[in-house]
Amino acid sequence: MSVLVEGRVAGLAFLSLLAFLISYYTSQIESGVKEKIRTIPAMEAIDEAIGRSVEQGKPALITYGYFDDINPAIMTGLEMVGYVAKVAAEKGCELIIAVGPTRTLNIAIENYRLGCVEAGRPELFNIDNVHYLTHQQFTYLAGMYGLLNEYEPGAYIGIGWFWVDAIHIGTQVKRLGIFGIGGAEKYDAGAWFLLTMDYSAFGAEIYAMGASMSKDTTAIGGIISTDLATCISVAILIVGSILAATGSNILATLMLL
């Protein structure tokens, strides 16, 4: 009798490999080995966006989408709230936070407060700047229209879970001449951000953004491991395609073990 569930052996092996890579690279970084990670333009642009808002005497607006779930994209957006709050507080910029998901409202408020505390400016935390918009997609969108037009912020930073609302928000941002940074997990929303924002990121890039700004050793180890695992996956795809073309299904059999 088999101990492992049929068809999930390769998955377990790959997950174990990923966990091993993360732990290996994290320990390497913790022991002082310098690992260079790629920079993401959208990430680098956050400082510029906040600086621009300060120069214009306008607030900056951040949102992480509308989806009411705690998925990786929403979590990255929440991390971003803390980071942007810190940068904004350091530069003395007022930050407006638009929250869609009900379940993560408290985490967003707490990350905003912590960001201000970490910057040494706890007095800049203002609960009235947190706007709850609901997790109904188009109701959220109507709220975003309202906030963008009411505040006319100097910068818009939207990183998290978006869908077709990305095109609506992007168009408003462009129309009002706001400096925009957009990041979405879904590639169709990413394409809309690519069209309408000054800087955009999508897919794995937004996770790398969230990780690189945290400066956490596990996060940096995670970025390196993800890149390596992606290379391994692509290699498996190429080898598998060649083997399949030559009539061998050995790799497919292995993957289905």
Partner: protein, 208 residues
């Protein structure tokens, strides 16, 4: 609250539950074990309900304060509280299938939602008109593929250029599929890494 209670206990619970659920997914386990994991899974609904209630309470607190102190925009805050209370009362009294709850949902929410959705086409054209400056290689590729797809889908396109649907189909099935798979592999791997980081309490969205 102590760090142990605020951070270590939740991470410990999360770690144990994840291991328990992963064992069920990857290993052959007895039926009694599956009963335990099903019970654990049903707890997610209860926890989600608590998180939702916490969010609702927070909305009430934030907007209630605005109304009491008559801050700017307090009328909107009063409106959000009113609507929230109406939905809660109608939902609790008649249930989510009752005539009035369905009426509120369909007439107050669904119709404006559908109207906004139907505006996408116009907004997209407006956005393309405003933002489609070919100032990078990516936008150039994007534009070329968009023009081909647009022409192939328009009734006149295949009449003038019979080869267009073939090109469009190839673009969709070969380079697009390949790129999409690569995209999904990288995104899924990154999501797993975020999961692992959360599991060991190294994400800010988790429990700081």
């Amino acid at each position: 609250m102590s760090v142990t209670l605020k951070k270590h206990v939740p991470i410990g619970i999360m770690l144990i539950l994840t291991i328990v659920l992963m064992v069920e997914y990857f290993f052959v386990v007895p039926d009694s074990y599956i009963v335990v994991t099903n019970e654990a899974k049903s707890f997610t609904v209860v926890i989600a309900a608590f998180a939702m209630a916490l969010g609702a309470f927070n909305i009430l607190q934030m907007h209630g304060k605005k109304v009491v102190e008559k801050k700017s925009g307090w009328k909107y805050s009063a409106w959000i509280i009113t609507v929230m209370v109406i939905f809660i009362v109608v939902g609790l009294v008649g249930g989510s299938k009752s005539y009035w709850f369905v009426w509120l949902w369909e007439c107050l929410l669904r119709q404006p939602d559908a109207t906004s959705y139907s505006l996408i086409g116009f907004v997209a054209i407006y956005s393309i008109y405003m933002a489609f400056r070919i100032d990078s290689r990516e936008i150039l590729y994007f534009t070329c593929i968009w023009v081909i797809s647009f022409a192939a889908n328009a009734p006149i396109g295949p009449l003038v250029f019979p080869w267009l649907p073939g090109v469009q189909g190839w673009l969709k099935m070969v380079p697009n599929s390949a790129a999409t798979r690569g995209f999904y592999i990288a995104t899924a791997l990154s999501a797993i890494v975020i999961g692992i980081r959360t599991l060991i309490g190294r994400t800010r969205a988790g429990m700081e």
